[in-house]
């Protein structure tokens, strides 16, 4: 089996890594991303293409089952590693590579899977194994509530035969209750019932292909009755704010309703890593303006990187993240200022990006003021285009002040997402305006809107009393 071994070793040189950020682990995530870029390892967007599931941060109660599902969604050879502190990133990646390149480990894992499959009740029939390697070439079931349901053909005997029209014809969505492990939630089907008064289906109202109920219908913006699907976005999704969960009701790919949830119940240190200089100044430690400004510029670069990745401009996103790492590593002002200027010029001048984001997610001043939005989102006062351009402008301004050694005024509290001295954290206001902005947007637009606001769930977790200024 030398060919397989050779292929495994080749595959292990540069595995694709899916970075799963836990709430409260921003520093670790930034370190891991920087390490991946230094090594030249590609990143994955979904568990399906990942070879390594890298969990950054400690255990979070709500996340355990999501992580399990993501791990099940990966195809072997694959492994799962965790780093709790920024310094552990490099050795975790090395351990992952050793594990993936280890033929014996992979073979025994494949044997275990083959045994489990033989011993299990379901047999997927005469499906030929597509992969020819040591891992055994078996199909891996996806989504735990529906083990053992076979092909769609399984539901044909229930129907009348040739009168049966698959539900996919009406509206254009089938029984896709969960859109895959990309968002890590295998929800038990939330709706029951068959079709609403469509006689042509001839199914007697009890069609349940593969054990999943059909989607219910609802009115849409054009007055049609289309299937409504529940789609959870996050918390395990590429380029998504950590700890944010959006429950969308979609018809087609248009969002009808969005409900925002944040993963809480996490009892580590509160507060966002990006706003640490201001909290330190509040608690009396000497902090320079340069430090605070550097951290804020890095936060804006992080948000910009995420936004550009969602917009599909991978190179610009990579540049933004490189600049973020440069800023955090303490690169001198002259060097960073030049690079940031070039980047901001390129992205700011991009007519294509402006054309693509114009008119999306318009946040008018009253709604913003009512929710208590502060910071760049308020100052930009407009749509997604205005917001990312505001970020660019503020980064340029901040980078000009990196060498400022004067002490940070404890009363000044302008963090990357807004003022820190309000009655609630700035991200809380951003999270509150999200559902209003998302209703009626398409999926792509919805992701752009979330990325242009980029709420930080860590800010929503209250600071421990000792370090907060009040």
């Amino acid at each position: 089996m030398d060919l397989i071994g050779g292929l495994l070793r080749l595959a292990a040189t540069r595995p694709r890594v899916l970075v799963v950020p836990m709430p409260g682990a921003t520093a670790v995530r930034v370190a891991v991303e920087g390490e991946l870029r230094r090594r030249g390892w590609p990143t994955a967007a979904v568990p399906a293409e990942a070879g390594v599931l890298f969990v950054t941060g400690g255990e979070v109660p709500g996340f355990a089952e999501l992580l399990d599902e993501a791990e099940r969604g990966m195809i072997p050879p694959a492994c799962c590693v965790r780093a709790r502190r920024p310094g552990e990133a490099a050795e975790a990646l090395d351990a992952a590579r050793r594990h993936l390149a280890n033929l014996d480990v992979q073979r025994s894992a494949a044997r275990a899977r083959a045994d489990a499959r033989r011993g299990g009740p379901q047999d997927r029939g005469a499906q030929p194994a597509g992969g020819s390697g040591a891992p055994g070439g078996q199909d891996r079931p996806h989504g735990e509530p529906h083990q053992g349901h076979g092909e769609r053909g399984a539901h044909d005997p229930e129907q009348g035969g040739d009168q049966h029209q698959p539900a996919e014809d009406a509206g254009h969505h089938g029984h896709a209750q969960h859109g895959g492990t990309a968002h890590g939630h295998a929800r038990p089907p939330a709706q029951r019932g068959g079709h609403d008064g469509h006689g042509m289906h001839g199914m007697g109202g009890m069609g349940m292909p593969a054990g999943l109920p059909m989607a219910r219908r609802g009115e849409d913006r054009d007055g049609l009755r289309l299937d409504r699907l529940r789609l959870p976005l996050g918390p395990i999704l590429a380029d998504w704010p950590a700890g944010l969960l959006l429950r969308l009701t979609v018809q087609g790919d248009v969002v009808q309703r969005a409900d925002v949830e944040t993963v809480t119940g996490w009892d580590g240190e509160g507060g966002s890593w990006w706003t640490v200089p201001w909290w330190r100044a509040r608690s009396g430690e000497p902090v320079t303006v340069g430090e605070a400004v550097r951290r804020r510029a890095a936060a804006q670069m992080d948000s910009l990187g995420r936004f550009l990745a969602v917009a599909g401009w991978a190179d610009a996103a990579t540049t933004a993240r490189c600049l973020r790492d440069d800023l955090l590593a303490g690169t001198p002002q002259e060097v960073v200022r030049r690079r940031v200027g070039r980047f901001a010029h390129r992205v700011g001048r991009s007519w294509t990006l402006r054309w693509l984001t114009r008119g999306l997610g318009r946040l008018d001043a009253d709604t913003a003021a009512g929710a208590g939005v502060t910071g760049p989102a308020l100052r930009a006062g407009g749509d997604v285009t205005d917001r990312y351009r505001q970020w660019l402008a503020e980064v340029i301004e901040d980078v000009a002040g990196l060498d400022d050694g004067s002490p940070l005024d404890p009363t000044s509290a302008e963090g990357p997402r807004g003022r820190l001295d309000g009655r609630r954290p700035p991200s809380a206001a951003l999270v509150e305006v999200l559902p209003g902005l998302l209703a009626g947007a398409e999926l792509a637009g919805a992701r752009l809107i979330v990325a242009s606001l980029d709420p930080d769930v860590d800010e929503l977790i209250p600071q421990p009393v000792g370090s907060a200024g009040g």
Binding site: R14, R152, L212
Partner: protein, 321 residues
């Protein structure tokens, strides 16, 4: 001008021997691998690192991993259609390149070569949509429909560009189109058609600014739930399509194998590599162009411009004869 009209395609391009049927897919795959490697190197350079051999190895490592991985499945997929979709993309690319001449040899010399190429490209509509429908999951389904939406935008200008080249040569046979460029390459007096054609190539291989069906914001779209060899087929199919489109640009607009000094096949190779390099470079320069915005631009701006461009060779040909 009259002499080029009398020159028939047969004097420029001849059918190749039978063993070239095997050589063509291999050559296509070779170019596609070169394109993927170039793309990986550009991606590596974008991170600010200097060129290293490791950058070029990344796609090979990925392919190796997908080869040894078992296929992945979802709940109640339509397995047959899923596999058909994934394989169909690569098959369409190989079939499309059968009419593209390399130098002065072509695998199949069809009288309607341009139409055959377009037909094979249209097969990708079905293939990508099936690849999105098969997994029975939302993100791939959205990706499949996004491809159709994008198709509505790019297909008509693309066909007009093909028609422009065919009008200039007064024939749908690719050999005749090459022969008609003896005096002047079509790209010189049909530049708009050339640009529209290149955009169409990026669009039907859903790469670069037109990777809307497989975009990162829907977690990979049609690629979100595939794994193993199926995934490798779909990924490879995209790059094979890009290569086939780039190869076709050469006889259509860049004079095929015509050129001084060097043999015809060398010129074909050089021109194909040049077009591929331009496409791979351009693909990283723009964000993902969403079909809902692009449809407006395509129908309001590109189609009239492409029609106007198609009038140019029509008037020239009328003026000549």
């Amino acid at each position: 001008m009259n002499s080029s009209r009398n020159l028939s395609g047969r004097q420029v391009v001849n059918p190749a021997p039978l063993w070239s049927v095997l050589l063509a897919p291999v050559a296509l795959a070779g170019f596609a691998v070169a394109a993927v490697t170039g793309d990986a190197v550009l991606a590596g350079r974008a991170t600010g690192r200097r060129f290293a051999v490791g950058m070029a190895v990344t796609p090979l490592a990925e392919a190796a991993r997908l080869l040894v991985a078992p296929p992945r499945t979802t709940v109640a997929p339509d397995r047959l259609l899923w596999r058909l979709g994934g394989a169909g993309v690569a098959v369409a690319a190989v079939l499309a390149v059968a009419v593209v001449p390399l130098g002065d040899r072509v695998v199949v010399d069809l009288d309607v070569g341009v139409v055959w190429f377009n037909a094979m490209e249209v097969v990708t509509w079905a293939a990508v949509w099936l690849a999105g429908w098969g997994p029975n999951a939302l993100f791939p389904l959205v990706g499949g429909y996004r491809f159709v939406a994008q198709g509505l935008a790019y297909q008509l200008p693309f066909m007009l560009a093909l028609i422009t080249a065919a009008t200039g040569a007064q024939s749908l046979r690719i050999a005749d189109i090459v022969a008609a460029q003896r005096q002047l390459w079509f790209v010189v007096w049909m530049p708009v058609a050339f640009l529209v054609y290149l955009a169409g190539v990026l669009a039907f291989s859903f790469l670069g600014p037109f990777d809307y069906p497989a975009a990162r914001d829907i977690a990979g779209g049609v690629l979100a739930e595939t794994g193993g060899v199926d995934r490798l087929m779909l990924l490879a199919g995209r790059w094979l399509l890009l290569t086939a489109g780039a190869a076709m640009a050469v006889p259509l607009f860049l004079g095929g194998g015509l050129g001084p000094l060097l043999p015809a096949w060398v010129w074909s190779l050089v021109k194909t590599v040049a077009v591929l390099a331009v496409l791979v470079y351009l693909r990283r320069r723009l964000p993902t162009i969403r079909a809902d915005r692009y449809v407006e631009l395509a129908w309001v701006v590109l189609i009239p411009v492409a029609v106007a461009q198609a009038l140019v060779p029509a008037l020239v040909v009328l003026g000549r004869g």
